[in-house]
Amino acid sequence: MNKMEETLIPKIGVITDVRIDTPDIKTFRVVTPDGKKAFDHRPGQCAMLSIPGVGEAMFSITSSPTNTEFMEFSIKKCGCVTEWLHQAEVGQQITIRGPYGNPFPVDDVFAGKNLLFIAGGVGLAPLRSVINYCRHYRDRYGDIDIVYGSRSKDDLLDYKEIIEEWSNDAGVNVHLTIDNPQEGWDGHVGFVPNYVKELGFDTNKTAVLCGPPIMIKFTLDGLTSIGFDKTQIYTTLELRMKCGVGKCGRCNVGSKYVCKDGPVFRCDELEELPDEY
């Protein structure tokens, strides 16, 4: 039988590197068994990873599309699939399918703009892909500001990369914050929404938000209070997904399917959706 492509049937992937980022976040490098990248993707898109017998779950692809050798996923331990992944070792095979969802509009809307990235906790994971994409094509974008906050210093994802690479780039400003004072931390202390207001950005920027729902809500309020329009703000959503292609019905909010029409939404588009995400 000449078999049709079937999106539900995944490819095999191999974990080639496991990086411990924080006490509950690890970053996994995944390639196909013959050492190639499983598929091309755009910044902000997702992939379905699974372990047979454990389950399948959607993760944002953390590495930049400009990386042609492998994909990375920063994964926080919080459910059965992630728990299993956290005890996986290098060489472990998993299954991977994708890419799913729509990407950030990096090539049209973002082009030539000043960009403001705001992330909380593991919310940096989906943004890292965009940030690194923009850093790679540095000349296509204006100034880049990154506000990133976490519970503590130890919970900051990709800290090494942030300090050693992002902070040293020309035109890239990194603002880090942690929730509570901590020994050995001389940076800012406080929640992300407040920090954003304190920093008081110029409104000639396009903002990209990702983090826990409560952070998104307050940061959004903060940004609008300092003059940002909702059409200037993008975020990325997470809902339970099974198929990844807008058929299984789980991530349906209003007439949109987060897996297909999202996960990236402009905040004014989001406002049109019923409050169920």
Binding site: T7, L8, I9, I12, R240, C243, C248, R250, E272, L273
Partner: protein, 343 residues
């Protein structure tokens, strides 16, 4: 148009069954019609419809997708898809025929669901006009459903003594060819009379005036926050009866079953009425039954039409009216929150 006598219909079934699997409504041991594989001795049911819709034929309740074997760190994946065999579903009512179109718009849009597509390609649908519609029927509420002249590859009309056939598609022509020797050419006088008879009954149905005009794409804001949802959903049990008997409900779950010597990944029907339908590791975006209840009806009446040129996700088959344990259903919802009966 061709016809055969009702007495000789089993000969036609026998003829089709020679080459294809043939399914048709047959009365079960409890007297309720069920789509059953035809074999000698099975009689075509007189019931208006089956409890379980024929969506099973294209989107079965449980279906294995693939298999895995794991050894150490390695995974071996087996694609177990097989080309579907040709089959015929006989006796599908107008509402259910329409439901296939609604499912097609989900499963056959890019990326095409190959499992569904394969069965769809190999299935021949013989519809039959509704000689005796029931009080729970409200297919007239929706466009493009005609109980007197249902769609499908072949349309059939069953009268007191005869069955009439008309092909609508290429697949239908092939079907007609197969039964040619058992049928005779006829004009459409009898069918026209049957159509008139059905149309007259349709005009008497208690739900004939139910209108869906108030609903449709772009009405999310109108209906999402109306207070009536509380009242309507107050006693909803949260079972999946409505979604499982519904011919258009298409939500599914993908699960793994560990057999002890491998893993079968299968998909099965799921219900938005279930409490863990949207549960994630970090929480649940629909915490109460009201939200889940609302999702089901909003999807059928607003979200689906918004994405599909105004076509509603309901075909008015009346199964949920008959089967909901608490008799709460889409008609009550439509009447309560929007579509006042057209006077």
């Amino acid at each position: 148009m061709r016809k055969c006598s009702l007495d000789s219909i089993n000969k036609i079934f026998g003829k089709i069954a020679e080459t294809n699997k043939l399914y048709l409504p047959v009365d079960g041991s409890d007297g309720v019609a069920v789509y059953t594989k035809w074999e000698e001795g099975k009689e075509w049911s007189n019931a208006l419809n089956t409890v379980r819709s024929p969506k099973d034929f294209f989107f079965p309740q449980v279906e294995n997708l693939m298999e895995f074997k794991t050894s150490g760190k390695n995974i071996e994946l087996t694609d177990i898809r097989e080309e579907a065999e040709d089959f015929v579903i006989f006796g599908v009512r107008a509402c259910d025929v329409r439901s296939f179109d609604i499912l097609d718009r989900v499963f056959l849009t890019d990326p095409v669901d190959s499992f569904y597509a394969s069965r769809r390609e190999h299935g021949v649908i013989v519809s039959v006009a509704c000689s005796k519609p029931s009080e729970t029927c409200f297919c007239q509420t929706f466009d493009n459903i005609d109980a007197t002249n249902p769609l499908g590859d072949v349309t059939a009309w069953k009268t007191e003594d005869s069955v009439y056939f008309k092909a609508n598609t290429e697949k239908g022509e092939a079907f007609m060819k197969k039964i040619e020797s058992l049928t005779e050419e006829c004009d459409d006088t009898a069918v026209a009379a049957e159509k008139d008879k059905i149309a007259a009954i349709m005009k008497k149905l208690p739900l004939k005036d139910l209108s869906a005009d108030a609903f449709g794409g772009g009405k999310t804001d109108t209906f999402f926050n109306v207070p009536e949802w509380d009242e309507l959903s107050a006693t909803c049990l949260g079972c999946g009866t409505c979604t499982f008997v519904c011919p258009t409900c298409q939500c599914y779950d993908i699960k793994d079953f560990n057999t002890g010597n491998g893993v079968i990944r299968y998909r099965c029907w799921d219900s938005c009425m279930y409490s863990e339908f949207t549960k994630m590791a970090h929480g649940n975006n629909r915490l109460s039954q009201k939200e889940r209840f609302r999702q089901r009806f909003m999807h059928k009446l607003v979200y689906y039409p918004e994405n599909n040129e105004g076509i509603f996700g309901c075909v008015g088959c009346g199964r949920c009216l008959a089967k909901c344990p608490i008799s709460m259903n889409i008609v009550k919802v439509m009447k309560k929150i929007g579509g006042k009966v057209n006077e």
